[in-house]
């Protein structure tokens, strides 16, 4: 089960990376307002990117899905919200929220979360089609 989850997250990330373009930013500079120049704090180290949070995400995703499967929709919502606080860029959270709100009879909320989830979902990703359906009102 855990392996399957890890695999799904991995595939989702890969497909997302493969299908979307990244954007560089660099243009010649000029500024109308005076800017104070300050030395960067000496000795400060910044990792090039934050370490992965996948273990926590996988655990909560698994928990939320289980809660959903057992009909504990309110708990699934809570777990998904908790997951969003850790990594809001996972489309799965929005899908769980959307599906849970549908079960709870709140289709308006479900549609909104589905729309938000599409932002983080690749068109070839697993959750995309379902998010699209819900966002279009096809429950």
């Amino acid at each position: 089960m855990l392996n399957r989850l890890l695999y799904m997250v991995f595939i989702s990330v890969l497909t997302a990376c493969g299908s979307q373009q990244q954007r560089p930013t660099s243009v010649p500079a000029e500024s109308p307002e005076p800017i104070e120049v300050q030395e960067r704090v000496s000795g400060a180290e910044f990792p090039s990117s934050a370490p992965e949070r996948s273990a926590a995400v996988v655990k909560l995703l698994s928990q939320a899905r289980l809660q959903y499967r057992y009909g504990e929709y309110q708990y699934a919502v809570r777990t998904a919200e908790r997951g969003l606080r850790i990594d809001r860029g996972q489309s799965e959270w929005y899908l769980i929220l959307a599906e849970s709100y549908l079960k709870l009879g709140s289709s308006g909320n479900a549609q909104q979360f589905a729309r938000q989830g599409l932002r983080y979902s690749s068109p070839v990703g697993q959750s995309y089609q379902r998010l699209k359906q819900i966002s279009d009102g096809q429950f």
Binding site: I35, Q38, A50, A56, F113
Partner: protein
């Protein structure tokens, strides 16, 4: 019988008869008054009894609502420094030890932490107490395991209490049950206050005698004459007046209390009732709260020395105040320890160790730093939408909030340092500048931190919520968003030549750029990133004031926006929280969320009352918002916000906007990363001019805050329906990656520029590398 004797007897008989007749007379005449008095006394006792029982059986105290911070979620990849983790643990009352021996302890070896968590019952399940090991590296959690090496994916520490909403009389207490306190506390209390507590019926002559004996033996007053029951009656039911009738009442009620309730119930009530100190206007009652107040520890975790100090305070919490009178408190504690030893409650070695130990009370300065009045103010205002103030002040509700101790500390520290530095650099009078900060978690819309005054813990005017100041150019993103919605692209040409706008009364308004220069035709993104006023006003008048103002409102500004030309340059007065609401909608890709400070509310017993779930509403097409965010990112890379990168890592993509009001009375900055939005205002309370622009004031403070909270940069992935095109940053014509001045910008499919511009070929490896980001 001799006649004399007879005569004497007759006399006695006469006298006796006389007495009997007097008594009879008195009885005859006084029988009704006596009966009435007796009945009245009986009625009085009955009334006392009813009063006594109704208070004791009902809700004994008005309990304040307790407000909790968000729990610290520990997981691999969390941004957390060793100092921050230490601060979080200490705020929770975890004691630093060399070796873990129980819950509520931690040990630290450089960046390796071992923690024995306490466990907590959250609304969505129980988090058990666990022994864990945490390795931090470069400001992140590198590994998280149980101390036996088993990997741990996620763990929540219990939430720290950050304040309360108190009853009018400001009494505060944290109720404890008798089974939750260390046995030494109950036994020690009895030994010191009322040795015969278990034997008497509320009143005890032997208690008075024993107290006198103990006091003489100790050479000081260490034991009072009143029983614990009498003390409870006095504190719980009566006033402190010294009158005979009150003493009678106290005695009667003590007997009644003992008649109705067990010793256990009386002692437990006493332990929660007794006054044990003062924290500003807040009165500390009961051992549960006193334990947190003096030691920042749960009462169950107290050692002999700490128990003795608290027991000693019963005699006079102010007189033996361990912060103001440490020597007096130490002597008192040691005396209590001696009595405990004499009573066989502690061993000799415990006595000697405890008497030699320090008082162990928390640093008084740290106590004042645990006040977050600005955030509590927001919590209370949001709670009042759903709860009556009376209930908040008395029902003992448990309020779980989004408050982040780390975010608050970062913001407070940054405010303190930056304002002092700015006053030094610009030779301003000390403490002349004021500040307000709002930090929000992007996506959830949860307020993480709030600074309402530069002085930490100051409970006065809350600038973050109540200071309505002119926002200047902070409003411009709404204007450019409107332009994008109406068919403009990021390279659409905007005219920044001088502009005049006619007012309704015929007056002419001629806004100028900050540098008093005109820049001719400029691409839209540049007009925003350099905050050109002339371009903004001309564009806004073309788009329509109502369209721009409507977008401002849709972005989350819940105040009416006047449809006047000056609005286009920010002649509107908003609080930092209102600005945060507007910018959060942009940061969250056009999804509006009402900013929240409360997650859930529970009853005193932990039953759920209400939850405040995340709710979102899409108000803008993500394609327009995405383009706007790119333009705001360019504000940071090349425009008025670029000074931020003196502190932020170059690879961190952030977006934001400066704001400066007329005559530089207000210095604003609002900006966000992928995870965090922060809004900063700087200025003077008297609204006088300052030498600060948005870039030279608020931006620096914003950068301080964000540099301490390096989260993830903005999401670089293009939404559907947009495509990136290399364009020339000056002309807006199609360019290519290796052409000078080329920039990759998003366009809605079908609106991309078609005309090819000239290309001056460059191949700079560094620039090439940067373009990968």
């Amino acid at each position: 019988m001799p006649p004399r004797k007879k005569a004497t007897r007759r006399k006695k008989k006469k006298s006796s008869a006389k007495k009997t007749s007097v008594m009879g007379f008195l009885c005859f005449w006084l029988r009704w008054p006596l009966l009435i008095a007796g009945l009245a006394f009986l009625v009085w006792i009955l009334i006392l009894d009813v009063q006594l029982r109704s208070k004791f059986d009902g809700r004994k105290w008005a309990l304040p609502a307790r407000v909790y911070a968000q729990p610290l979620e520990l997981y691999q990849g969390l941004h957390l420094s060793p100092a921050e983790l230490s601060a979080e643990l200490q705020a929770l009352g975890y004691r630093p030890v060399k070796r873990l021996s129980g819950p509520g302890q931690f040990s630290r070896n450089a960046s390796l932490f071992r923690i024995h968590s306490r466990g907590f019952t959250f609304s969505d399940g129980e988090e058990p107490a666990r022994r864990l090991q945490l390795q931090l590296r470069l400001g992140y959690v590198d590994s998280l395991t149980l101390t036996n090496g088993e990997p741990l994916s996620l763990l929540r520490l219990e939430p720290a209490e950050i304040g309360g909403i108190y009853p009018a009389h400001k009494e505060d207490r944290l109720l404890v049950r008798l089974e939750d306190i260390p046995p030494l506390l109950g036994e020690g209390l009895i030994a010191i206050e009322d040795g015969s507590f278990l034997d008497h019926y509320g009143l005890s002559l032997t208690s008075i005698a024993r107290a006198a004996f103990v006091n003489i033996k100790a050479g000081a007053v260490v034991q009072g004459g009143s029983t614990i029951t009498q003390q409870l009656v006095k504190n719980f039911y009566l006033t402190h007046e010294r009158r005979f009738t009150r003493k009678v009442k106290e005695a009667l009620m003590s007997l009644l209390l003992e008649l109705h309730y067990s010793k256990r119930e009386i002692l437990e009530t006493y332990i929660n009732e007794v006054y044990l100190g003062q924290s500003g206007p807040r009165a500390i009652h009961g051992f549960g709260l006193a334990s947190e107040h003096y030691f920042n520890q749960a009462v169950s975790e107290l050692n002999s020395s700490q128990v003795a100090l608290l027991v000693g305070l019963v005699k006079g919490a102010s007189y033996y105040n361990p912060w103001r009178q440490p020597e007096r408190a130490r002597l008192r504690r040691n005396l209590v320890l001696q009595v405990m030893f004499d009573s066989g409650l502690i061993t000799e070695s415990d006595l000697l160790t405890s008497q030699a130990s320090s008082l162990g009370v928390v640093d008084a300065k740290k106590i004042s730093r645990r006040n977050y009045p600005a955030f509590l103010d927001l919590v209370k205002r949001q709670l009042l939408d759903d709860y009556r103030e009376q209930d908040l002040r008395s029902a003992g509700l448990r309020i779980f909030t989004s408050f982040s101790l780390r975010a608050q500390q970062r913001a407070e520290q940054a405010v303190e340092r930056r304002l002092t530095k700015l006053e030094g650099v610009y030779k301003l009078p000390q403490k002349s500048l004021q500040a307000a900060v709002v930090t929000v978690a992007v996506g959830s819309g949860e307020v993480l931190a709030l600074v309402g005054d530069r002085q930490r813990g100051y409970p006065g005017f809350n600038r973050a919520l109540d200071a309505r100041r002119s926002v200047g150019s902070l409003i411009k993103p709404a204007l450019y968003l409107t332009a994008l919605q109406q068919g403009k692209t990021l390279v659409s040409s905007i005219d920044d030549s001088p502009v005049k706008v006619q007012g309704p009364n015929g007056s002419l308004w001629q806004p100028q750029n900050f540098d008093h220069a005109s820049h001719g035709k400029v691409p839209l993104f540049k007009a925003l990133s350099h905050s050109y006023n002339q371009a903004a006003v001309r564009l806004g008048m073309q788009l329509g004031l109502d369209e721009v103002a409507t977008n401002v409102e849709k972005l989350g500004v819940d105040l009416p926006v006047r449809r006047i030309p000056a609005m286009l340059l920010g002649a509107v007065e908003w609080s930092p929280l209102t600005v945060a609401s507007m910018y959060h909608t942009i940061a969250a890709d056009g999804f509006y969320t009402s900013l929240r400070s409360i997650r859930s509310v529970q009853t005193m017993q932990g039953l759920p009352l209400s939850r405040y779930p995340l709710a979102v509403e899409q108000r803008f097409d993500i394609r327009f918002i995405y383009q706007l965010k790119v333009a705001m990112e360019l504000v940071m890379r090349n425009g008025s916000g670029r000074g931020a990168y003196k502190q932020l890592p170059a690879e961190l993509a952030v977006a934001g906007k400066t704001g400066t009001s007329n005559d530089q009375r207000d210095s604003w900055f609002a900006g966000f990363s992928n995870d965090t939005l922060a809004v900063v205002w700087l200025g003077r309370d008297d609204n006088d001019v300052t030498p600060l622009t948005g870039a030279s004031g608020a931006l620096l403070l914003w950068s301080d805050i964000m540099a301490a909270d390096v989260g993830r940069g903005l999401d670089p992935f293009l939404p559907e329906g947009l495509s990136n095109v290399w364009v020339d940053s000056n002309s807006g014509l199609v360019s290519a990656e290796n052409c000078r001045g080329a920039i990759l910008l998003p366009f809605i499919e079908g609106t991309e520029p078609r005309q090819q511009g000239p290309c001056e070929w460059i191949e700079n490896p560094l620039i090439h590398w940067w373009k990968q980001f």
